[in-house]
């Protein structure tokens, strides 16, 4: 692990962080969608920011 990290330059590191952030975001997004209270991720204007906040608080 350390040797892989050691061979990386800062640019590679940024790419890895971007990849992890994207995967985490998508995973959270769909977990919320399929959760009991749910949420919409489409561009329709009905997305509930309040529900998201409530879930995050929990």
């Amino acid at each position: 692990m350390m040797s892989i990290l050691g061979n990386m330059n800062w640019q590679d590191l940024v790419v890895v962080i971007a990849l992890l952030a994207s995967l985490t975001y998508l995973f959270r997004r769909f977990r919320i969608s399929f959760s009991k209270e749910g949420d919409c991720s489409a561009g329709c204007g009905c997305a509930s920011s309040e529900i998201k906040k409530n879930l995050e608080k929990r």
Binding site: A21, F34, C44, I51
Partner: protein, 696 residues
């Protein structure tokens, strides 16, 4: 201080809410007529703010559907987070009799109440006189004349809300006179001495806020007393109307009873079975012409801006993975979102205008007539039409359909309606394969094809409903009660707020997903098994002299070879045999798979794949796609046949994770979302295959 706005549908409640709160609004998730739970803040005097809650429109507190239940639930539950300190009942002044039913129910709950008589301008036109002073004295509550759209009466309302409002002083409906045993028992179960609350709860099948003990207690007393809630509700309504008739006689005077206003005259044309449909088709043509024609230059500007930004990044940032990620992944991804703002704004501007003028109710009426032969319930019309914006609130809005089978059919066919997420996909494919020509000198051909796609989606929804109706054998008992609001001049502020909300939601909700997927795709397209990529490049280098390509052409070929041997390329190639019969190559295949998360991902995906596989970063995604050559036929990749096949696939396939999630929640299981996904995507595959083979 919390103030709830309550009223029948189409009484101008939302206009009043917008006037009171401006842009200080939050949209939540109450389903129903306006679908959302809206809250906002309003400054009623310096240093004092009130929280305004816009509850869904309802005709009565005797709830029949989930959205009506929410109103009853909030107003009867002092422990509810939205329980108000005061209620403003917004009533349509020209329909006072019907509107007073809800007012008298709220009044009996004992919450301080204000009666706001809205749309008073119609009163003058119809020559109806209402004795406001008399009404106010009779009920001992403030009664306000309001024209929410023009802002008349808003200051007076705020002034009233500033004062300490008193709770109503008497009960209009005496529930004990109907069934004192029921009242005594339910008061005991609920631990309250509030007759009307207990009456509503005991006679409602819905209430979800009760504790398990209260629920079982109520259920027990219902069976012990052999309660007939439907009969009780009717008795309540009849008694209230008797009381209201007395009020109308006393305080309302109609001096011109035979009056036929402009709305009625217009309705004779707009709801006519032939003229009405023709006018509606004409309006649709206008809308889709505008979506294509008016949006061109702002879209081109946005595209050019991002293409230049990518080029700038390539030239000025230090070479490396970050610059490439920005130029070929993130910037094309963002462009793929922002470029559709003009079209989304134009589409929703029209939809908001149609809603604002009151024309949308006429569309619902026309559609009801059209849908009945296909086995769709009258109440399915609203969810289906709202599916034109997004299937998720549409599926939630099916809660108003009482019959489970009819509701299920509506849920199963709603995703065929063309949602706003399909708009970006349709636009780019139509722009690629349909010539920019005009029919009869004024009709934009591309706009016509876009409209045809909307009609195709609608037709498929009808046909699928017919098929489900035969399979599920639903009994058609449902009917639609629809109120035709008077035609009004649109209020531009409300139109503006709708456009702002839709665009914001598209950019920030869909946009985040698109960018996240673009990043993942870029990484998958940029990197691959090191030895395979290196071997392929070495092989190309060794053939450099025999290929006789210019340096730029050779670099472009190198980028394409590297992409083909990336993780994404290997994955795409592995699924290519399955999609080849539809006319697609592996790049389209990747976009197709990514679109199963959400359809609008298509454009961002194509942008990323083409940006990685080409060296010309200044090109837009459309230009990249237009110059893609099918190496077998040496013709453009996007022929008419491929374009039509793709359009059909996106029209029919169930490519929306969020819709599947909401169907899963609404049907409480995996069975129906799996059936929906399978039949829609199977149909998409088969019909795309047929269309491709026909047009090839």
């Amino acid at each position: 201080m919390k103030i709830a706005l309550v009223g029948n549908p189409n009484t101008g409640k939302t206009s009043l809410f917008n006037k009171l709160t401006g842009l200080n609004q939050k949209v939540g998730n109450y389903p129903g007529i306006t679908v959302d739970k809206k809250t906002g803040t309003c400054k009623i005097e310096p240093g004092q703010k009130a929280q305004i809650i816009d509850l869904p429109g309802t005709y009565s507190l005797n709830a029949n559907s989930r959205d009506e239940e929410i109103v009853a639930e909030v107003l009867t539950s002092p422990g509810h987070e939205d329980y108000p300190d005061a209620v403003v009942v917004v009533a349509d002044a020209s329909n006072l009799r019907r509107n007073l039913l809800l007012f008298t129910q709220v009044y009996d709950l004992g919450i301080p109440v204000v009666l706001a008589l809205n749309m008073v301008d119609i009163l003058d036109k119809r020559k109806i006189l209402i004795d406001l002073e008399g009404l106010s004295q009779h009920f001992n509550v403030p009664v306000i004349r309001l024209n929410a759209r023009k802002g008349i009466g808003i200051d007076k309302l705020k002034e009233v809300l500033k004062t300490e409002l008193e709770a109503p002083s008497f009960k209009i409906f005496k529930a004990k006179e109907i069934d004192s045993n029921l009242l005594n028992a339910s008061n005991e179960v609920l631990g309250k001495d509030d007759d009307y609350r207990s009456w509503l709860i005991a006679n409602s099948p819905l209430y979800s806020l009760l504790t398990p003990e209260e629920r079982s207690g109520i259920e027990k007393l219902r069976s012990d007393l052999k309660l007939n809630p439907a009969r009780n509700r009717v008795q309540e309504t009849v008694r209230r109307y008797k009381y209201i008739d007395g009020i109308i006689d006393q305080f309302v005077e109609e001096t011109n009873k035979g009056y036929r206003d402009i709305s009625e005259k217009l309705d004779a044309i707009f709801t006519h079975k032939v003229w009405g449909l023709l006018i509606f088709l004409g309006l649709l043509t206008l809308i889709f012409q505008a979506v294509f024609s008016w949006a061109t230059w702002p879209m081109e500007m946005i595209e050019a801006l991002f293409a230049n930004a990518s080029e700038w990044v390539v030239h000025y940032l230090p070479k490396g993975a970050v610059a490439e990620l920005l130029a070929d992944g993130i910037l094309p991804g963002i462009a793929g979102v922002l470029v559709f703002i003009p079209q989304i704004a134009i589409l929703f501007a029209f939809i908001a205008l149609l809603e604002e003028t009151g024309y949308m109710s006429r569309v619902v009426y026309l559609m009801d007539r059209l849908m009945r032969p296909f086995g769709l319930n009258g109440r399915s019309v609203v969810p289906l039409l709202s599916g034109m914006a997004c299937a998720i609130p549409a599926v939630m809005a099916t809660r108003t359909i009482e019959s489970w089978k009819e509701r299920l059919i509506t849920i199963m066919v709603t995703p065929f309606m063309t949602c706003s997420a399909r708009l970006p996909v349709y636009t780019i494919i139509i722009a690629l394969v349909i010539p920019k020509e005009r029919l009869f000198g004024f009709l934009n051909l591309q706009g016509l094809v876009l409209m045809a796609m909307y009609l195709f989606g609608f037709l498929m929804a009808l046909l699928a409903a017919l098929a489900f109706d035969r399979i599920l054998k639903a009994q058609r008992r449902g009917y639609l009660i629809l109120e035709m609001p008077a035609y009004k001049l649109p209020h531009l502020r409300n139109v503006g707020i709708t456009i702002f909300q839709k665009v914001r939601s598209f950019v920030f909700e869909a946009g985040k997903i698109i960018i996240a997927i673009s990043i993942i795709l870029w990484i998958g397209a940029r990197y691959g098994p090191a030895d395979r990529q290196a071997e392929a490049i070495a092989d190309l280098e060794s053939r450099k002299s025999e290929l006789q390509l210019s340096e730029a052409e050779f670099e472009a070929r190198k980028a394409a070879v590297s992409l083909e041997h990336s993780y994404m390329g290997i994955f795409g190639k592995s699924i290519e045999p399955a999609i080849e019969p539809l006319g697609y190559d592996w790049k389209i295949g990747i976009a197709l798979i990514a679109s199963f998360a959400a359809r609008e991902v298509f454009v961002g995906t194509m942008a990323t794949i083409y940006a990685v596989g080409d060296t010309e970063s200044e090109l837009t995604v459309k230009e990249h796609m237009a110059k893609d050559i099918n190496r077998e036929t040496m013709l453009p990749r996007y022929t008419l046949a491929v374009g039509i096949s793709l359009l059909v696939f996106y029209a029919l396939a169930m490519q929306c994770m969020s819709t599947l999630a909401v169907v899963y929640r609404e049907t409480k299981g995996w069975k129906w979302p799996i059936i929906q996904f399978t039949y829609m995507s199977g149909l998409a595959y088969v019909l795309s295959f047929i269309f491709y083979q026909l047009f090839k």
